[in-house]
């Protein structure tokens, strides 16, 4: 690298970080597919999500964990009935995530832009054909704009869930399954909640291990060989470490990706880290190497409150000097009850000097309703 990026945390950012922490201390989280929750609990993703690799509909345990361990109050809407777990009938469970709010973006030398918007509403349907063995799972984006199928697959879990077979459209197993699709490690790898793929996934769920292999058709339906994804994580109560590999053949140049990731706890803080290396081949001429990283600290300040601070770095083009980018985030998450989470956050991007939007500041307030 020919240039080291200068630290650019301004007094305003630092003050907002402090205010976020103080607000958490004075008041007294629940998120969707957030790996830090798994690290915090010392559990695997399959414990709280129907999808063993995380994200989407929560299991009954996941719903109860949100109610009893994460939310400020374990409140029941109807005290005479049992808490909501998503189970509608013996053979059918459902769930949803609805996110919307306000965001403001300031690009250097431009006027600020702000907007209220429904960010995303997704519905989950889980048909249990044979309990603990065979399910049909559907994850559908219903708003905004057009309806979009995100995941739809048959899920087979023989030997009491020791083995997992998925067939259909699914998110690929690779790295940390962060809720934030705009995180550099998600953008650069192209593995996110925006990019499901069609194929089959085989999984192994052992007491301390979770491993998957997926064979899918790939992003470009151009007759190329199938895409292969491998991921494994070793899980201990206070730490975990994992690695992923992805090979995506393509006539215009293959892509290979490797990631190492980890999570650990220090007191009330759950930490996440991921490092991605991506190599794009080219039919003629040099290819490209990309690397991206993330480190995240989630401080459970008080029951119902979480302060998330992240630092991200990426170098998207190996042959291009001075295009490295950084992203700082500080987000306060407040979960008063099982079904509601509010988030207030700031982000600062530090990127290409000549490209103002890569040096923007954002702040946002989001309401997340889920069940």
């Amino acid at each position: 690298m020919t240039r080291m990026l200068e630290p650019r945390i301004s007094p305003l950012v630092s003050t907002l970080l402090l205010l976020g922490a103080l607000a958490g201390l004075l008041a007294g989280g629940r998120a969707a597919a957030e790996p830090y929750l798994a690290v915090e609990a010392g559990l695997k993703c399959a414990q709280c999500h129907v999808n063993p690799t995380g994200g989407g509909k929560r299991t009954a345990f996941g719903e109860l964990y949100a109610r009893n361990q994460i939310s400020a109050q374990a409140m029941s809407l109807d005290p005479s009935s049992k808490p909501w777990t998503g189970d509608v009938a013996k053979w059918f469970a459902t769930g949803a995530d609805i996110r919307g709010g306000y965001d403001s973006v300031t690009v250097p030398h431009q006027s600020s832009e702000s907007d209220f918007a429904l960010t995303r509403a997704t519905a989950y349907l889980d048909f249990i054909a044979l309990p603990n063995l065979l399910q049909v799972y559907v994850d559908q984006k219903v708003a905004p704009d057009n309806v979009e199928n995100r995941e739809a697959y048959v899920l087979l879990t023989p030997h009491n869930g020791r083995y997992v077979v998925k067939a259909g459209q699914m998110f690929l197993p690779y790295g940390l399954r962060l809720q934030d699709d705009d995180a550099f490690v998600r953008q650069t790898s192209g593995v996110s909640f925006r990019t499901p793929d069609d194929g089959i996934e085989l999984g192994l769920e052992l007491p301390k291990w979770s491993a998957q292999m997926a064979v899918t058709k790939g992003a470009a339906d151009n007759g190329s060989d199938d895409r292969v994804s491998l991921s494994a994580v070793y899980v201990r109560p206070r730490w975990r470490v994992g690695a992923s590999y992805n090979k995506n053949p393509d006539p215009l140049g293959d892509r290979e990706m490797e990631a190492v990731f980890a999570g650990w706890k220090t007191g009330p803080i759950a930490w996440l880290a991921e490092l991605d290396f991506i190599t794009d081949q080219a039919p003629t001429g040099p290819g490209n190497s990309i690397y991206a990283s993330l480190i995240e600290g989630d401080w459970r300040i008080h029951k119902g409150h979480n302060l998330k601070v992240t630092y991200e770095f990426q170098n998207p083009l190996s042959h291009q000097a001075e295009d490295e980018q950084e992203r700082y985030s500080a987000i306060w998450e407040y979960s008063p009850i099982q079904f509601v989470q509010s988030r207030v956050g700031i982000r600062r991007y530090n990127g290409i000097p000549s490209f103002p939007a890569s040096n923007r500041n954002e702040w946002f307030a989001e309401l997340h309703v889920y069940f």
Binding site: S14, L18, R255, Y311
Partner: protein, 401 residues
């Protein structure tokens, strides 16, 4: 102040830890993380934004879009790095909306790229995803580049010229021979090498087989490279009679007479079903077919031209579940399976609702309407051309007799 200093220390800690990890890993995995010129303090490598492809690449695609749109995992297969973006944009149908070209030279309003960055596209989210919308001045510059023909000012002689699209689409069925056949190249073509010898059309002689002695060569009215878009070639078929048949388009990339670019590099024409053509080496003919089938607004005509040749391979009246359970193998069976019959996928909608083509599920499936379940039909094949769909709609609107 104490808190501010503390948060600064925290942020510095994160940064130091990650930077340490990335630097160690970078040293292990990559010998060099960048050299040469690039984004300098004085501006991007492309200079101020101008309505040229190279400038848009340097100022928009590379710094903004490539983060996601690169490599074999690029969303919808759209790579926007400098080596691939032009070939995958200009004249190439959108993956989300195949009836719309990503960039349609001279027509920014009909270009999916513009629709996506302006937030007016029928599918998906506004681009760039997760970022502020592009300033209107930037969008206007991209519009101007497309209005001016969407030419490529970066071509070098090292890469062979390729075919990036053809109209009518390869494999499509059209109701009549079109007035012209248009092919687009990924760079400016040498107009003097494009003529009726290097750009040919023939039909199979009604047997859909070529090379068996009954092929019919078509003599076009003209073959030209329009001055307004020198990345394309147009074969005019004015005065050529239409016959129901399979037609084959050939662009010569080999032999004595072949299509060249301005640097003398021969067409890289091998076509395997996806654009752009080619195998990376100059030379090789581009060969693609389409079918002319005159579909009338009658069930028998639709049966003969659509249901029997296209649909009945899956919808054969076999088994108890879709697609086999729906029998479209002959007109009687098709009527029984379709007219006033509730869809299995959406029981509230009739497959064919007489006099209501818009409310008929078969039309919605053929058009790929947003509300349908499952995939657009024909499954896995080219969508029917609009005249064929219109014929089916006319039959339904007439009461589906």
């Amino acid at each position: 102040m104490e808190g501010s200093n503390g948060s600064r220390r925290l942020a510095r800690g994160f940064r130091a830890l990650t930077r340490c990890a990335t630097l160690v890993a970078c040293a292990l995995v990559t010998a060099s993380c960048g050299s040469g010129d690039g984004f300098s303090s004085g501006g991007s490598s492309g200079g101020p934004l101008a309505p040229t492809f190279s400038s848009i690449q340097a100022n928009v695609f590379t710094p903004i879009c490539v983060t996601c749109h690169s490599g074999a995992s690029a969303p919808h297969g759209l790579r926007l790095d400098g080596g691939n973006s032009y070939a995958l944009l200009v004249g190439v149908p959108s993956d989300e909306e195949p009836s719309v070209l990503r960039v349609k030279p001279n027509d920014p309003n009909s270009s999916y790229l513009v629709q996506k960055i302006e937030g007016t596209a029928a599918s998906g989210e506004r681009m760039p995803a997760g970022m502020p919308a592009l300033p209107q001045t930037v969008i206007d510059t991209i519009r101007e580049w497309i209005t001016n023909g969407a030419t490529n000012d970066t071509q070098t002689s090292s890469a062979p010229i390729r075919v990036s699209s053809m109209s009518p689409l390869p494999g499509s069925i059209v109701t009549a021979l079109p007035a012209s056949i248009t092919v687009a190249f990924d760079r400016e073509v040498n107009a003097t090498t494009v003529d009726a010898t290097t750009f040919r059309l023939e039909r199979s002689g009604a047997d859909a087989v070529f090379g068996n002695g009954n092929d019919v060569a078509i003599t076009p009215a003209s073959v030209t490279v329009p001055a307004a878009n020198t990345h394309s070639a147009v074969m005019s078929l004015a005065g050529v009679g239409s016959a129901n048949d399979t037609y084959r388009v050939t662009l010569s990339g080999s032999g004595a007479a072949k299509i060249l670019d301005l640097s003398g590099s021969a067409l890289d024409g091998e076509y395997g079903g996806t654009f752009p053509s080619g195998n990376g080496t100059a030379g090789g003919d581009f060969v693609a077919t389409f079918t002319v089938g005159t579909v009338q607004a009658t069930l028998q005509s639709i049966q003969d031209n659509v249901f029997t040749p296209i649909c009945s391979s899956c919808h054969a009246g076999v088994g108890t579940v879709l697609p086999g359970s729906m029998n479209l193998s002959n007109a009687t069976a098709s009527r029984a399976a379709l007219v006033s019959v509730a869809s299995v996928e959406q029981p509230g909608v009739q497959r064919v609702a007489p006099s209501n083509s818009a409310g008929s599920y078969v039309v919605q499936k053929l058009q790929g309407d947003p509300g349908i379940s499952g995939s657009r039909m024909p499954f896995g094949g080219q969508p029917l051309d609009q005249p064929t769909i219109n014929a089916i709609r006319q039959w339904i609107d007439a009461g589906a007799p």
